[in-house]
Every structure is written in C-alpha cells, then in structure tokens.
Symmetry: C2
DNA sequence: CTAATTTTGTTTCACATGTAACAATTGAAT
DNA sequence: ATTCAATTGTTACATGTGAAACAAAATTAG
C-alpha cells in the first residue's frame, strides 16, 4: 500500500474542527440571549459578566479574567459607560488606571442575564445528557489546564 | 438567604465560555500550521481540506461540508485559484454551477498539511491524555449530534 | 534629578466577516 | 410562451477585529 495516497483528513472527525464547530453552534445560540434581551455584543456581555462577578476591576483586569484583547475591553467599557451600566473612577495613586464598577442599573441587567445564562447552561445539559455534558466539561477543563498558560492574549 | 443576591455567574466555570476559550486556544495553535507552512487563511485551509477529502465539489457543497458561509467559500476559492491550487470547470448542464478540483500542486500541499494536521491532533491527544481527549471528543460529538441540525449556516 | 523603559488605556489602520443586494441562469406556474 | 420564483455564486457595504502606533503617567537606571 502506497502510504502517500492514504494521507487524507476527515474534517468531520478532526478534533480542532469539531471544537470550532461546536463552539459556533453553542455560541450562536447563547448570543441571542444577550443580544435579544439586552442588545449587547459579546465583548460587552463579557465585560458586564466579569464586573458582575468580581465587582470593581480595571480594564486590564477585565481582559485578564475574560480573555479579551484590551481593545475589545476598551470599546466595551466605552459602550457600557454610555448606557450608564458602569462607572469609571480614576485611581488617585496611579492616574493611568481607572476602576470600573457596575451601576445599579448595570447590576440589575447583569443579574437578569446571569439567570438566563444559568438557564441556558442547564438547558444545554438537558439536551446533551449529563454524561455527555460532563465529558465535555472535563475535556474543556483539560484544554484550559494544559494550554491555557500560554499568555497569548 | 436572599436569593436575588446569590444569582451570579462564574465565567471560568460556564460551559459556553469554556468552550469558546478552549476553541481559541486550540484554534490559534493550529492556525500557525496552515499560516506558517502555506500562508493560508482559515477559510482557504478549510476549502483545501474539503476538496482534498471529497475530490470534486461545487462551492455550495464545500460550504455545506465545511460549515462555511458562501462568501467565505467564494473568496477562498478565488484565492486558491490564483495560487493555481484548484481549477474551476463550469457545469455543462447548469451553467450557474462550477465544479472545483485541486490541481496537482494543490493536492500536494493538501497532503502535506493533512499530515501536519494529523500530527497536531496526535500532539493534542498526548498533551491532554487519552482519557481527557476522548471525553472531549465525546462531548463535542454530542453537541454536533444534538445541535448540528440547525441549518443556520 | 534626568533619561530611558514600562504600563495603562485609546486610537488608527488594514483586514476579515456576514447581510443584503445583485447578475446570471434555471425551474415552475399557468 | 411568458412571467415569477428559486438557485448559484459574486460584490458592496457596514461592522468587528487585532496589530501597531500612540499619549499619559509611573517606574527604573544611572
């Protein structure tokens, strides 16, 4: 058998492709939640979610926690500020730094979306079945654990 | 306990986020392969891979197999044609349709990249460990199975 | 103290993307 | 037969993106 002719690739079975495809399928569905319910883009949603989870943070810290490029964070913060969902406060000791906090309205929206997010995740678990969901969770955790240390972002 | 205050979301543990993050980590690494070795974009790589796997296809069929938007396919085909990695032939019965095939050079590049792709996947399996890799594979398969029927693309 | 370097966040630029409009062709309706 | 609808692929437009340049401030080196 001529090995050269046998080297081909079944895209549907290729894990990086499957991962990409699965992400698109889930991501698209989830996006409708923060888009339809709050008119947010993904960077905006992530910024909201990170501030909702951690309280007061700087833009850099938001980027670190949410794995977002600093330009994305910058733009999302701008947009959320215009909506009055967050407030900036310049640090007194280091005037380059701005501390960001959700306003009451921002926090309210966050809670609403966080509920929907939980419901979405539960729904996903139902659709996939517990075993599959846990398998997925384990696999994704392993990737984060083994590859996530590349600073890269 | 006031339930309202307890509704928050741990982003790092939220599966849609983990999926997105894992995809980025893997995707970025894999992209260096087709970028560095062949100067291809992702749509171009996918088009090459789909034609390499299936032989002759129309643009629409490539989109269906690789889950790519038709404009992506259109541009990728254009680019690969300029490189002389594929050839177009207008269908005689239906002159809207073009049949696309890899040239010899295109096929050679495909084989090289397919080898590297396999090696990449093997490396990923090594890094994650067999158990984690199979868990991931199972989870991703379940998503495709349960959500992949949404035509959506 | 002064100059060079680093850090934080914004802006500019070039490019990739999807939606929608489009031209060309084919098929369906009547 | 002739119009109307559907399909295939391309193009135009508006938007989102990251790399790189940037301004402002802080830190380090000497």
């Amino acid at each position: 058998m001529d090995q050269t002719d046998e080297i081909a690739l079944a895209l549907e079975a290729f894990v990086p492709y499957k991962l990409n495809r699965a992400n698109e399928l889930v991501s698209r569905r989830f996006a409708t939640i923060y888009k339809d319910h709050a008119g947010l883009t993904r960077p905006e949603w992530r910024t909201l979610a990170t501030l909702g989870q951690y309280g007061t943070l700087t833009a850099t810290a938001i980027g670190a926690h949410s794995s977002m490029h600093k330009t994305k964070v910058s733009r999302a913060v701008q947009s959320l500020e215009e909506r009055k969902w967050l407030k900036r406060t310049t640090d007194e000791n280091d005037r380059r730094v701005e501390h960001l906090v959700l306003t009451r309205e921002g926090a309210r929206s966050y809670k609403k979306l966080a509920e929907l997010a939980h419901a979405f995740e539960t729904g996903l678990k139902d659709i996939l079945g517990n075993e599959n969901f846990e398998a997925l969770n384990r696999g994704l955790g392993a990737i984060e654990e083994r590859l996530g240390t590349d600073i890269f972002l």
